[in-house]
Symmetry: C2
Subunit: 348 residues, 2 copies
DNA sequence: GCCCTCTATGTAAACGATTACATATTTACG
DNA sequence: CGTAAATATGTAATCGTTTACATAGAGGGC
């Protein structure tokens, strides 16, 4: 592997001069500059980023710590991160880890010396307090709260979004509104549940415990919970699932049981994944700008990185938006499927 | 930031001894070992991976070069890669780049010194020949062919999968079978088209040019192509879309036009993304083990990394599997939706 | 008691870059 | 023409590790 020394020797100059040419730093005569460029190119010299970052103590890389999550969310959040990272000349070092203490700690240790900052996502509430690392590098917490810890955090407007969706169901005349909850111990799940309860209380509806079915953010969970709801003596007339995957499972269960949506049962989800609009009937959901979520997280992190982390800690939330389609029975706000798509979707 | 020197000074030993304790290399007395461990822990010392990899010339990191792709495929392939990478103590440095020459080259340059090998995905056929880098590091090409270049490659059994699906449509009695093609210049798209034509020829069906609609792997593309197909004087009775996204777009168009699936029109896709089974009717598709694809790519790469790349170049393909559901009209091979799911699907 | 082999530890040279400082050469100007 | 300033280049320290080699003491066999 050819190094800067090889280039220097070949061009009969010192490594310092070569470095100056490569980084366009310091004065170099035009002749030398041309010579060195030519030699470097001819020898196919490529700088060793590792060595460079050792001396400059800048890696131009951001670490991303993710829980083991699937699907659309995962890819969208990474896309958002990579977009802004790349725009600022940074790379992404991605690491999925179990959300337990040792998992996160191991991952964080491994990142030392290879990244300039870390975006950590650990929606599992119990694991959140484990970030008391000696992390002298900037950290942004995604979709989780940090009590007491000196880190920036970015979350979704879960509570408000859920509240608005349930309020919408209420406005359609529903009074028996069920919820399929998210995973236990999950921050987003807890917040969405809070929004649901808040909306019911505001509407003067007395909560009915059996209408709060537990789920785990999976299609299977939504399916099972729906079966249970259908078995109730007093069926609900509307189901609010804490995410779209569960809502999709619910739709399947209802279709199988011959229950008409939205006539006999309204269904709503959360996240507004791209496929929500392609369901039959198209699924009403709370839109979460996942890509922007990732982008904003990196923006916050980059600010911390360039300003040496000496700013006041920030807590931001990205706002959600109600997307009403046919599954809740209201007049479709958008033609489904729309002839024009907001975004190209390429897979494979 | 505390370094190994700080630990050495504090423990009143040399850095060599500290290093030996940390890496469990060379002989150290039990007393010293205990002392150093204690001091390192107390000072919250974390080794600097960058410095370490400079001297050992091992980064324990693999680069992943991806085109700008969306959705399920993206996340699944990364999951597969990360699984096996992590199992072998490696990290993933992910970089999305445009598939043009300068894009790939820039990305490859940036990887020098930070990774031990690279998995590069560039299904765009034109861009494929651009990998003539001085890449002295191992490279595995994913979903694309390399002619002449000394790299391992891993592809999907596109042709065979498409052929089997079309053959299945033929077996159901269809003779006017349309295809919605993938993006022009895309390797997977070309291969799937080849399989389609091959199956038709084998069945003695004369190809009808208007039945080969172009598409771009997006739902919108599938939607538009289907509208065009419905406008034909002689409509097809079956549509084979080169991926599921387009098939989903097709289903939407058919639903809107009041065309019954599968009675009036059979529809099949490719990839078998998780949502295929949740469509109405559930979508028949060619299953691609995306996660395994990523896993295998990393396996191949790791082999190259540990064996210093001195093996004969390999070309592998992962095999596909026909998954027949209701959209092609055959008796469903699996209950839809199944009560048990193969895999948990967690998003948010 | 001598020499050899272990074991435990330290010293210092890498790894591949950047950069402060020193030095040499040229230019400018009174 | 002499000297200061500007320009061009080289020397060597540095980043935080690992590791080959050197050294020193302990133990053992004869």
């Amino acid at each position: 592997m050819v190094t800067i020394k090889d280039v220097a020797r070949e061009a009969k100059v010192s490594v310092a001069t070569v470095s100056r040419v490569l980084n366009d730093s310091g004065p170099v005569s035009d002749d030398t500059r041309r010579l060195i460029s030519e030699v470097a190119h001819r020898m196919r010299y490529v700088p060793h980023s590792g060595a460079r970052s050792l001396i400059t103590s800048k890696t131009q890389t951001l670490g991303v710590l993710l829980p083991d999550l699937y699907g659309e969310f995962f890819s969208e959040v990474i896309r958002g991160m990579d977009n802004t990272a790349q725009r600022n000349g940074f790379h992404l070092l991605i690491s999925r880890s179990y959300a337990d203490k040792s998992g996160i700690e191991t991952a964080m240790r491994a990142m030392r010396g290879r990244v300039d900052g870390v975006v950590a996502m650990s929606p599992d509430i119990d694991a959140e307090s484990l970030l008391n690392l000696p992390s002298t590098i900037p950290v942004v917490l995604l979709c989780s709260v940090s009590r007491g810890h000196e880190v920036d955090s970015l979350t979704i407007q879960n509570c408000r979004g859920a509240r608005e969706m349930v309020r919408h169901l209420v406005s359609l005349g529903h009074t028996r509104i069920a919820i399929i909850k998210g995973s236990a111990g999950n921050y987003d799940a807890a917040e969405r549940l809070r929004g649901y309860r808040m909306a019911l209380r505001e509407a003067g509806i007395v909560p009915d415990p059996p209408l709060e079915q537990s789920g785990n953010f999976t299609e299977a969970g939504g399916y099972a919970a729906t079966i249970d709801l259908l078995a109730l003596r007093e069926r609900p007339t509307a189901i609010f699932a804490a995410n779209d995957s569960m809502a999709i499972g619910a739709l399947s269960a209802l279709r199988e049981s011959g229950v008409q949506v939205p006539e006999e049962m309204a269904v709503a989800g959360f996240d507004d994944i791209p496929l929500a609009r392609f369901m039959d009937p198209p699924l009403s959901s709370v839109h979460v700008p996942i890509c922007e979520l990732g982008a904003r997280a990196v923006e916050l992190l980059l600010h911390g990185v360039t300003h040496k982390n000496d700013h006041a800690r920030r807590r931001e939330r990205v706002s959600t938006e109600l997307v009403i389609r046919r599954s809740t029975g209201a007049e479709p706000a958008e033609r489904s499927p729309p002839r024009t798509f907001k975004r190209e979707t390429v897979s494979v």
